[in-house]
């Protein structure tokens, strides 16, 4: 498809387990972003990838969170030893490049529930 895709759409896990969320950006988009949306809240920035540059991890809430991106394609967000406070919708976005004038296009999100 032409848009940003994410998988799985829903994930239920037990506290303490690790989870991996996937994002496929729009083809040709060099910039990729992860955001978290807690219930009833706006989106919180987590991490940003631009091409082969070192990612900006300044929004990651703890060292249990990590993300990788292969070149300018797929990205995975990993949460280790999940906690109930990690329950949220995780949204991925991509944009054409580094300019702040490049619009971000969002995927449908992964709803994570930690029991």
């Amino acid at each position: 498809g032409a848009g940003v895709s994410q998988s799985p759409s829903n994930k239920v896990t037990e506290k303490g387990k690790d989870v991996e969320l996937r994002c496929d950006p729009i083809s040709g988009h060099t910039a990729l972003y992860w955001y978290r949306q807690r219930l009833g809240q706006g989106l919180e920035f987590l991490i940003y990838f631009q091409g082969n540059s070192a990612p900006d991890k300044s929004g990651l809430p703890s060292d249990r969170f990590s993300a990788e991106r292969t070149g300018e394609s797929v990205s995975t967000l990993t949460i280790q030893r999940t906690q109930q406070e990690d329950s949220a919708v995780y949204l991925c976005a991509s944009s054409l490049g580094t300019s702040q004038y490049n619009e971000q296009f969002f995927g449908p999100g992964t709803r994570l529930t930690v029991l």
Partner: protein, 109 residues
């Protein structure tokens, strides 16, 4: 730290009525977005406002930006049920977007 505040957070309005949603932000930014989110769905871009005094309109929605006051408004004219959704404003800071908490709009007959 850039802070973005929206009000109201919840809004119930009758069809045919007008209302305005407000978005205030704390530091200078030269780009502001309005997004719509339907339940269980992702964000849909509505407007991008780039400069002071910018005004954009699409159907029953009109957005404006006052960079001096650090204020954007989203005005709803003659609301219809299809406009029921959550509306977010977001301000660019560097390359990341800083979002307000959203305004949940319910339009009733």
């Amino acid at each position: 730290e850039l802070k973005v505040e929206q009000n109201p957070l919840f809004l119930s309005m009758q069809e045919g009525k007008n209302y305005t949603i407000y978005c205030n932000y704390s530091t200078t930014s030269d780009r502001l977005y309005w997004y719509r989110q339907d339940p269980g769905k992702s964000l849909e871009s509505l407007f991008v406002l780039l400069s002071n005094g910018a005004v954009k309109q699409e159907g029953r929605l009109m957005a404006s930006l006052d960079t001096k006051a650090r204020l954007s408004t989203l005005h709803i004219t003659a609301a219809v049920h299809d406009l029921s959704a959550t509306y977010f404003c977001a301000v660019v800071s560097g390359y990341a977007l800083n979002f307000g908490k959203g305004t949940s709009l319910l339009v009733t007959p």
